[in-house]
């Protein structure tokens, strides 16, 4: 009985030490990537190649989801706002919720599952097939050659994707409320422009998506680099990338929102 209790407590301790060690390892890896990124920024062609795979190929999913999210927001917002006779405020509702929250967050979630998982699988498979070790043998640093370009491509493309998501969402909201339902067009845009502030709303949204880009890219490259070099290990790492980065996005979003919009009513 006592033995079982002790081994239970030991299990808890083991898990805590393990996860703390992993967190520290991830932080050290992150700093290593930052230190080694000078070469990849000098050879910018590598980053451009990765930008194609992470950014350009994510365009379709981001644009289409943005359009539909905006359309749904317009529809639901109109349903509620028309009860109070203020359906012209639907433009404000759509724009503010997209620019402040939904644009950065949903785009980052989609980005994590579309591009983050691909990065992890690619690096993990490179490790499993010992391509990374082979690079090391040839005195090519795999962190500088493989990891850093992917990280920077993620960081660069995320704010752009979030902005495109928001624009498509506003367009979707416009389509549903103005074109289909018939809210006054002038009121829709003027209410929106009066209530969306550049510094408070748009700039903060861009800062948010920048942080999400760092989080998703860092988690993706770390999970890939850290993956056990087996088929099972790579699949587990891919799953962990999506789960961890989704949780990180939502947690970071709360923290950033608390800092940015507190005291603004």
């Amino acid at each position: 009985m006592l033995k079982r209790i002790i081994s239970g407590i030991r299990g808890i301790g083991h898990r805590v030490i393990d996860s703390t060690w992993r967190l520290g390892y991830a932080a050290r890896f992150f700093i290593l990537v930052l230190l080694k990124s000078t070469t990849s920024l000098r050879r910018f062609g590598l980053v451009i190649r990765e930008l194609y795979f992470t950014g350009v190929l994510s365009l379709i999913i981001i644009l289409v989801s943005g359009l539909f999210v905006g359309m749904v927001l317009g529809l639901q917002g109109y349903e509620t706002l028309q009860k109070f006779g203020s359906e012209s405020a639907v433009g404000t509702l759509v724009a503010l919720s997209l620019v402040r929250e939904l644009g950065p967050v949903v785009a980052a979630l989609l980005f994590a599952s579309r591009a983050g998982s691909a990065i992890t699988a690619e690096i993990g498979l490179m490790k499993a097939t010992e391509q990374l070790s082979a690079m090391g043998m040839m005195a090519v640093d795999p962190v500088a050659r493989v990891v850093a370009p992917r990280f920077w491509a993620g960081v660069i493309s995320m704010p752009f994707l979030a902005a495109m998501f928001s624009v498509m969402g506003v367009f979707g909201g416009y389509l549903v409320t103005v074109v289909f339902i018939g809210v006054d067009e002038g009121l829709f845009w003027s209410q929106m422009q009066n209530n969306v502030d550049f510094r408070i709303d748009i700039a903060n949204g861009v800062i948010k998506s920048f942080f999400f880009g760092i989080a998703v890219a860092a988690i993706a490259v770390f999970e890939g680099y850290d993956a056990p070099p087996t088929a099972e290990g790579v699949s587990g790492a891919t799953t962990r990338t999506v789960v961890t980065s989704s949780l990180a996005i939502l947690g970071l979003d709360f923290i950033l929102t608390a800092f940015m919009f507190r005291g603004i009513s």
Partner: protein, 157 residues
Amino acid sequence: MQRTTMDLWVGFFVLLGIGALLILSLKVGNLSTYGAKQSYGLVGNFENIGGLKVRAPVKSAGVVVGRVTDIQFSLETYDAVVTMRIGSDFTFPKDTFASILTAGLLGEQYIGLDAGGDETMLKDGDKIMITNSAIVLEEMIGRFLFDKAAEDDDESF
């Protein structure tokens, strides 16, 4: 894939992203109303500002001429010190009248400026001498009930 096509696509992607940011700031947001416009500061003491917020508009004849930049509480006079920035194109006479008004029944509160007839104009950092506080609904109802009760008393005598 060939290197040049990839470059083309990435360039297209980056341009699209910058375009989206521009649309957000110009079409959705109100960056166009900021600009590098010159402005000057005015100060006004109000007995009660109601629900006035920083960044609330300052209007004259319904046209936005500036914004509230700061609201402080003065320990000397025990009233609210409201700082606002007015666009340099809009100059107001020294005896301008500032009051806190409400847009609509439930709308936001803003500062309304009524120009006076003085020859000298307000300069940067000047103080608006004549101010009118916000109307607080509870006070108004209280005054109404008080008057009503007083009327009833008069009738009974």
